[in-house]
């Protein structure tokens, strides 16, 4: 796929403060707030998983905790997610440097690995279900299904955004670059979150 990207425009000098020495912060009227928006989404999602994690910690600390069997596919899946996160970051930076082909290729491979993680999680569920472990089989299994399922929905949302950006790579970098930086914040968070959940679910 031919990729036509432009380097981001240099930032404009901020306008002079209004109102003389009492003019406050002299900010321009509008800034691209997407990155801030994504950080706030991350804060909300983090609180959601904090709620679920604290429920697990409380339950796992009491009597009668039955851990879920660990599907082997989770290891390569986790690795795929971490590598996809690294590829997203390095691809994004390559694009910002003007290395169009390198950046686009890394983003494509990263998205593929993200999809691989998704497929891995689904196959982990199938493996558990075929082993006779369902939602009501015990607290460990219940928490695994709910936590990994909730995480997977967030990953699916992020991957949809990623794929939409891959299609739009032909557009000027300034617009896609802002979105890529927002996506990177979200995706790195999901990768770190999965590591936390993995440890939480299988070290009890």
């Amino acid at each position: 796929m031919a990729v036509t990207l432009e380097r981001p425009a240099p930032p404009k000098a901020p306008p002079p403060p209004a109102g003389g020495d009492r003019g406050g912060e002299g900010r321009p009227e509008v800034r691209p707030p997407l990155r801030l928006f994504v950080w706030l989404v991350v804060a909300a999602v983090a609180m959601f998983f904090l709620g679920l994690s604290s429920a697990l910690l409380a339950r796992a600390g009491s009597a009668g905790w039955i851990p879920a069997p660990r599907p082997g596919v989770l290891w390569p899946g986790t690795l795929a997610l971490l590598v996809s996160s690294a590829l997203l970051e390095s691809g994004r930076r390559a694009l910002a440097r003007g290395e169009r082909e390198t950046g686009a290729n890394r983003l494509r491979w990263g998205a593929l690995l993200g999809a691989g993680f998704l497929a891995g999680q689904l196959s982990a569920w199938r493996w558990l279900a075929s082993s006779g472990v369902g939602l009501a089989s015990g607290p460990g299994a219940a928490y695994f299904y709910v936590l990994s399922g909730a995480h997977l929905l967030h990953v699916a949302g992020g991957l949809t955004w990623w794929l939409a950006l891959l299609v739009r790579l032909r557009r000027p970098f300034g617009e896609v670059g802002v979105q890529l930086s927002g996506l990177a914040v979200y995706w790195h968070f999901l990768a770190a979150l999965w590591v936390w959940l993995f440890v939480l679910l299988f070290t009890r």
């Binding site: 404009k12 306008p15 403060p17 209004a18 109102g19 009492r22 003019g23 406050g24 912060e25 002299g26 900010r27 321009p28 009227e29 509008v30 800034r31 707030p33 801030l36 928006f37 706030l40 989404v41 804060a43 909300a44 999602v45 609180m47 959601f48 998983f49 904090l50 709620g51 679920l52 604290s54 429920a55 409380a58 339950r59 009491s62 009597a63 009668g64 939602l135 009501a136 607290p139 219940a142 709910v146 909730a150």
Partner: protein, 579 residues
């Protein structure tokens, strides 16, 4: 950015929209704000009507107008509707949407589409809630806090069936809507302020909305997590909250090893910040209104901001005081008691500053001012007993009695409603271009004030006398039966509140059609919303967005040509404003 601004300048005056994009699926923050506000007021009529029905049951239990499960459904839905579908959306949907861009000098919210989505998800969340009235078993019976196992086992009570499922779906949708709104308010306030509008020049209404939005952003996801776990317990046979060995209807249930206390922790981790989500914006509204009608700067503006931030932080550290009787390590209980008492300090700072703002002011008791002063009165009358209830040893005998019902209805429920009323009378002219009728407004105020004190203050006594909050027919208990005359008095007072609400509805309809035209600045206000016409045009200002030159409360400025200096006017020669 400059190009975008120029684009707006060119297109704003000739902006044309269809009926659907202008009034229904509008992305204009003002329309969305009014959609939120009017929907909340409609839901207030529903929640209020429920209260009238169960208060009638309590006053005259011998008439038996409700069955026991219908009574529980009525109180549960009243609480749910008032907290989640009236107070929260009116303040953190209605006023937040309408006022934030106008007060900070922005053309609209940062993400108008997300804003529209927020309202329509909210509207959608009402559908399952209302539908639950019409399903077999009726709405939930488990109280607005939906404690398991009553809420977790479909066979536990009539309303524990489909009605409870619908409640959970409704609350989950409401959480999503609230998150979308909060994301927008925080981003807009941080990024979209006009030139000169530093954080410490923001009106306190904006500060209140900002802190409340942060609380909503961080607490609603936890309720959503709890709700999802409860849904799994109900529909998929998991045991997150249901303990083993329960016997319901003579049968041992299949669940094993869950913990109902876990729900209480998760619920109140949201539930207590939620109290401040609905009281911080009114605190800001009341500050704006009192400063305007006392023609004085708000006393101690930095302390008002700092106390809002302190309340916001502390609100995450007090949830355990709802659970002193649920089983808690005494040391933990002491910790929660300490943080609860600590939150009284910034609350007292605010009360002191409102009184100091009123002190020797040129007071004009418009209806908005009456409701604002009424707010302060209710906040004190309800807040002081929070000190009693925050102490675990005092709380334990009073827990779940009418003492608690009186406390939270005064400090959080009716105080927030008075803040909303103050805001409606103050900004109605900006919203619709016409003033509300002041005579009807005063009738509304006095009905509300007398009704609220008559209904809720005696409940302190009921609570001390041992009246539990969810008793359907107290005549079964000899020590409560003789309290029936007081119950009748409370119910008659509650009717006054509802009557007051109807007067407001009539006033709004009448004034919309025939109210006195307001002009851009009927209250001689200083903040940016008064710099544009009433109602404001699409994108808020026809010309440039105004710049800001000073703080929000420059009233009675010595040497000024009039008794106030608006934020948007450059400094006149020879005048020295506060900051």
């Amino acid at each position: 950015m400059a190009a975008a601004e120029a684009h707006l300048e060119v297109h704003a005056p000739t902006h044309r929209e269809s009926f659907w994009t202008r009034y229904v699926f509008s992305q204009d923050h003002k329309v969305i704000g009014l959609q939120y506000l009017l929907t909340s007021l409609f839901m207030a009529l529903v929640g209020g009507a429920l209260a009238m029905v169960f208060r009638t049951q309590l006053a005259w239990p011998q008439a038996g107008i409700l069955k026991a499960d219908q009574y529980l459904a009525a109180v549960s839905m009243h609480g749910t509707i008032m907290v989640f579908f009236v107070l929260t959306p009116a303040l953190l949907g209605g006023f937040a949407n309408f006022l934030v861009p106008l007060k900070i000098g922005a053309r609209d919210m940062a993400f108008p589409f997300v804003n529209m989505l927020s309202y329509w998800v909210f509207a959608l969340s009402i559908v399952p809630l209302v539908a639950s009235f019409f399903v077999p078993g009726g709405p939930l019976n488990a109280g607005w806090t939906a404690y398991p196992p009553l809420s977790a086992l479909p066979q536990a009570a009539p309303g524990s069936g489909l009605g409870q499922d619908l409640w959970l779906v409704s609350i989950a949708l409401f959480c999503v809507s609230s998150l979308l709104g909060s994301l927008n308010y925080i981003t807009t306030i941080l990024v979209m302020r006009t030139r000169g509008m530093s954080l410490m020049r923001m009106p306190l209404t904006v500060w209140g909305i900002f802190v409340a939005a942060v609380l909503a952003l961080l607490s609603f996801p936890v309720l959503m997590a709890a709700g999802i776990l409860l849904l799994f317990d109900r529909l998929a046979g998991t045991s997150f909250f249901v303990p083993a060995g329960l016997v319901v209807g003579g049968q041992v249930i299949q669940h094993t090893g869950g913990n109902p206390l876990l729900w209480q922790h998760l619920f109140w981790f949201l539930g207590h910040p939620e109290v401040y989500i609905v009281i911080l914006p009114p605190m800001g509204i009341v500050s704006d209104v009192i400063a305007n009608f006392a023609r004085k700067p708000v006393f101690g503006y930095p302390a008002m901001v700092a106390s809002m931030l302190a309340i916001g932080i502390l609100s995450f550290l007090v949830w355990g005081h709802h659970m002193f009787v649920s089983g808690m390590h005494p040391l933990l209980g002491t910790g929660f008691a300490l943080t609860t008492l600590l939150i009284g300090v910034p609350s007292a700072v605010k009360t002191f500053n409102w009184l100091a703002t009123l002190w020797r002011g040129k007071l004009y008791y418009s209806t908005a001012m009456l409701f604002a002063v009424g707010f302060v009165s209710l906040f004190v009358a309800g807040g002081l007993t929070g000190i009693h209830l925050g102490n675990a040893p005092v709380d334990i005998p009073l827990h779940d009695t009418y003492y608690v019902v009186a406390h939270f209805h005064l400090v959080m429920g009716t105080a927030a409603v008075f803040g909303i009323f103050a805001g409606i009378y103050f900004w109605f002219p900006k919203m619709f271009g016409r003033l509300l009728d002041e005579r009807l407004g005063r009738i509304h105020f006095w009905l509300s004030l007398l009704g609220v004190y008559g209904a809720f203050f005696p409940m302190y006594y009921l609570g001390l006398a041992g009246m539990h909050r969810r008793i359907y027919d107290y005549r079964a208990f000899p020590y409560l039966a003789h309290l029936q005359p007081l119950q009748v008095f409370i119910t008659l007072s509650a009717f006054l509140i509802f009557l007051g609400g109807l007067v407001l509805a009539y006033n709004m309809l009448r004034s919309l059609a025939a109210g006195r035209p307001a002009g851009p600045n009927p209250w001689r206000g200083t903040t940016l919303e008064w710099s544009t016409e009433s109602p404001p045009p699409h994108h808020n200002w026809r010309g440039d967005v105004p710049e800001v030159y000073r703080g929000p409360y420059e009233y009675s400025v010595p040497g000024a040509p009039q008794d106030y200096l608006p934020q948007w006017e450059p400094e006149p020669a020879g005048v020295r404003a506060g900051h």
